[in-house]
């Protein structure tokens, strides 16, 4: 049995603290996903909590057909969509807190990251989502198709278009 299903099964048997294990396992992933989508740390923190609260309340609806991770990211996507309807466009300000060792490396890497993040933020919604879920969360295309409720073919195309677009905009001297 899948590790997550084991935890959920314990949760359903009365050990309600088992849910904390799921939170600790996925909190980083959900937070970083939301942060890349919204850009603001404060918003990302609040939305991360919303994701887990929705997951907690909806857990009895999780049948275990797909992976728990896929189901969770689907919730995260929906939470993001509800939020983005009511709020200003992506702001890059929250993504600037980066910890590195060497100062020179710090400056170069920071600039490179900012450029890439800006380019990602300019992608169309589905391309951005596909790229982030694939590159940073290593979901399979099949999982991404479930999250986005589209075909695998669409996911593959979106992934290609996303990378190609960034490649075209990325400054030549970075390559």
């Amino acid at each position: 049995m899948d590790e997550d299903l084991r935890i959920i099964s314990r949760f359903r048997s009365g050990d309600i603290e088992a849910f904390s294990e799921l939170v600790r396992k996925y909190q980083n992933g959900v937070y970083s996903f939301i942060l890349r989508m919204v850009g603001s740390e404060a918003d990302a923190q609040d939305l991360t909590q919303q994701v887990f609260i929705r997951a907690f309340k909806g857990l009895k609806g999780f049948r275990g057909k797909g992976l728990f991770r896929t189901w969770l990211f689907r919730i995260a996507t929906n939470v993001y969509r509800s939020h983005s309807k009511n709020s200003p466009l992506f702001s890059n300000s929250g993504l600037d807190n980066v910890r590195q060792e060497c100062f020179e490396e710090k400056v170069i890497l920071k600039e490179q990251r900012q450029v890439l993040r800006r380019l990602i933020s300019q992608l169309p919604y589905k391309q951005r989502l596909t790229l982030i879920l694939k590159v940073y969360h290593e979901l399979t295309f099949s999982e991404i198709a479930q999250v986005l409720d589209c075909s695998i073919g669409t996911v593959k195309a979106n992934f290609h278009f996303a990378l190609n677009r960034i490649r075209e905009e990325w400054p030549r001297d970075e390559m």
């Binding site: 048997s13 009365g14 050990d15 309600i16 603290e17």
Partner: protein
Amino acid sequence: MKKFSILIFVIAFLASGVFAQPKEKDFYKRFEMIRLWLLTDELNLTEAQATKVFPIIKKYNEKKKGLFQQRNQLVNDFREKFKKGKITEEDIGQLLKSWEEIRIKEIRIDKEEFKELSSVLSKEQQARYLLFKMRFPHEIRKILKQMRQRKALKEK
């Protein structure tokens, strides 16, 4: 060959834990949520306080649970002996002594808990927590009474 595959099947079936010991019913953790819930309201905890307070309270509740169970066992044994008319002076002395030891441990745990909480809670919150502890079984009894009343109404 057929006997062998049946054997494998049976071993696999047994190993899957179907005939394993039934799990200890752990409702205690679940019902501790009531305590946290009432406490959150009683102390008017903020979210930031909750992140520090909840783990502390859970930790010491677990320690207390062990002591409660010891105490309950002692009293139940004593009661059983009493019903059978087999209590001796030694039993009475032993109960008092064990009781005292458990009480000392409980108080020590309470003190440790308060020491940790004092860095997170205000003086007023600490005072409320003390009063809450005294009142807590009474709160549970109130809830039980209400539940039983609702049940009785439904059954009419």
